[in-house]
């Protein structure tokens, strides 16, 4: 339903989106996840025909958005990052205007406006001026505007931003309800949102796709194992053989550091706390144990891990360490 291939978008010298490719199948909800400035909004703007790509192709509902923009736009509902409201219009006037420019036939307009107001629960605000709405209501009017012409494809840029918890849940429910006869891409930085609403996640960072999978798979991929992080003074020796020998260890990755130190990641089978055994192994080898820390990867950490690993050497790496050190420790066995 949506096919993006080798999409690149530069603003002058800044490359906001760099050679991104992904597909979304009909009826699917794709979560678009990434930190601030990752290029989510930029990708969506290209997909909706708001701006042309520097390179690459995007096909939405069978129409190339650069070659047949009008046909593609007819089939897309778009909620931009800032809901595009005219402050001087009432909600009802605004939605009627949107219905006209989206090409909803005159006879169906009133009914489409009313049903989308109902679905987004803004019917009580119909007569209110858009400029006088609260942030959450603006967001909902934006959503009503996106689903108004019953488009095949919905592109929602942070649809739950600014909503209260109850509204967040309702909006997620609405999005799930809409999937099936609509194909949806939604962007967010909230991870639980992805695991709760989306069937598939594309994680992007600095304009590149760093992971693409189902939320469960992504979690499983890194959660299947638990990781213990050690910093050992081995005097230059390789700690891997000794640590691998500990019962329950599945994998050891040792990175030799400066002056005989070694940073070692030890993956262990799930459900066992091997910190005592590992400490003993280090000590019996006569090494100095400088740090020992258990890492349990939550979806948050996977996200951080994926979006910061490119820059492990510089401050990005430091971010990762601070973030993981605040992670809950594994309970003592």
């Amino acid at each position: 339903m949506i096919e993006v291939s080798h999409l690149t978008k530069s603003y002058g010298s800044v490359t906001a989106v760099d050679d991104i490719s992904f597909r979304v199948e009909p009826g699917e909800i794709l979560g678009f996840l990434g930190p601030n400035g990752a290029g989510k909004t930029t990708t969506m703007r290209v997909l909706t025909g708001y701006m042309p790509a520097t390179e690459g192709r995007a096909v939405v509902a069978g129409f190339d958005v650069f070659e047949q923009p009008i046909e593609a736009k007819r089939r897309i509902g778009y909620l931009p990052e800032t809901p595009p409201l005219y402050p001087e219009m009432t909600v009802h006037e605004y939605l009627s205007f949107v219905a006209r420019i989206k090409g909803v036939p005159g006879g169906e307009r009133e009914q489409r406006v009313n049903s989308s107001m109902e679905r987004t629960r803004i019917d009580d605000m119909a007569g209110r001026h858009c400029g006088k709405l609260s942030k959450g209501y603006r967001q909902r009017v934006g959503l009503a505007q996106a689903i108004l012409h019953n488009p095949e494809v919905l592109i929602l840029d942070e649809p739950t931003a600014g909503l209260d918890p109850k509204q967040i849940i309702e909006t997620r429910e609405l999005v799930k309800e809409l999937a099936g006869d609509h194909t949806i891409i939604l962007s967010t930085h909230i991870l639980p949102e992805v695991s709760q609403t989306c069937q598939r996640v594309v994680i992007i960072n600095r304009g590149r796709v760093v992971a693409e999978d189902t939320p469960d798979n992504l979690t499983a991929r890194l959660r299947g194992a638990e990781t213990v992080l050690l910093e050992i003074d081995t005097n230059g020796a390789d700690p891997a053989p000794a640590l691998s020998a500990v019962d329950g260890v599945t994998r050891v990755t040792a990175t030799p550091g400066a002056t005989g130190l070694s940073k070692t990641e030890v993956e262990t089978v799930q459900g066992r706390d091997l910190r005592r055994d590992l400490a003993r192994a280090v000590v019996t080898n006569g090494w100095g144990l400088l740090e020992l820390r258990s890492m349990r990867m939550s979806l948050e950490e996977i996200f951080l891990h994926l979006t910061t690993e490119e820059t492990d050497e510089d401050e990005g790496g430091a971010d990762l360490v601070t973030a993981t050190s605040s992670a809950p420790e594994a309970p003592d066995a």
Binding site: R45, Y50, P84, Y86, E88, M89, F97, R100, I101, K102
Partner: protein, 257 residues
């Protein structure tokens, strides 16, 4: 066309939702009324002189030539101040508030959006002009002006205003800031105006070129009630070119993001 009308209607509603439309219409009516009474007083003095002295003073005096014509020319000066305020927000405000994202992702062509905005601004301008018909109507009540030259004059005002609006839209499409947009538009209008004065001191060839370029020079015939297709073609091509440049500008803004 239906889409352009939807946009034009929204534009008009938005003008009237804020005090801006009323302020502009009032301002236009006030200035026009001032010029009207000043010129009328002068005209009355003159016609009195003609009546008293017969010869020595102006020999003939005519409502069309000596009242309506200077009024029309003065009205073009008002456009200089009022029209930048009509067009300054058209694109700038949409860019600032992000509603441009709605327009550009809807199944509309750039031309439909531009035409909608143009028609919206022209509608507001037409309302301003319509109010001045009251003044002119009074002349018809108390005198016997010819109506055809008056209609020609109004057509000229409409076309001249159209040129200004197309320039205003172009400038508005280039900035998010409506104040900058308004000021720049006013500056450009002034330049277009001044070309005419420069022509007065230039050599014969330059003068011909500058006169041709000057959008006010072309108004002269309209104000005299002379309908010349040459001027109509000039104005229409000016408008078309302005709107074309606006389309280009919207497109290039798109590339830039």
């Amino acid at each position: 066309m239906r889409n352009a009308l939807a946009i034009a209607q929204r534009e008009i509603a938005s003008y009237f939702a804020s005090p801006i439309a009323y302020v502009l219409i009032g301002f236009f009516a006030l200035l026009f009324g001032y010029f009207y009474s000043a010129i009328l007083a002068f005209f009355l003095r003159q016609s009195l002189q003609v009546g008293q002295f017969g010869f020595g003073g102006p020999t003939t005096i005519n409502v069309n030539q000596d009242l309506i014509r200077p009024l029309m020319i003065n009205a073009t000066v008002i456009l200089l101040f009022v029209l930048p305020m009509v067009t300054m927000r058209s694109y700038s405000e949409e860019k600032r508030s992000g509603t441009i994202e709605l327009l550009l992702t809807s199944p509309l062509s750039d031309l439909q959006i531009i035409m909608g905005k143009f028609l919206g601004a022209m509608a507001l301008y037409s309302i301003m002009l319509a109010i001045t018909l009251v003044h002119i109507g009074m002349l018809f009540m108390y005198g016997e002006p010819e109506w055809l030259p008056v209609a020609t004059g109004y057509l000229g005002l409409l076309l001249l205003g159209g040129c200004f609006v197309s320039v205003g839209l172009l400038i508005s499409s280039m900035t998010k800031n409506q104040v900058v947009s308004g000021m720049a538009t006013f500056a450009v209008f002034l330049m277009l105006w001044v070309i005419n004065w420069m022509a007065d001191t230039a050599g014969p060839v330059t003068q011909a070129v500058l006169n041709y370029l000057s959008i006010t020079e072309h108004f002269d015939d309209f104000s005299r009630g002379v309908l010349d297709t040459k001027h109509i073609v000039y104005y229409l091509s000016f408008i078309a070119f302005g709107l074309f440049l606006t389309a280009k500008s919207v497109d290039s803004e798109r590339w830039r993001g």
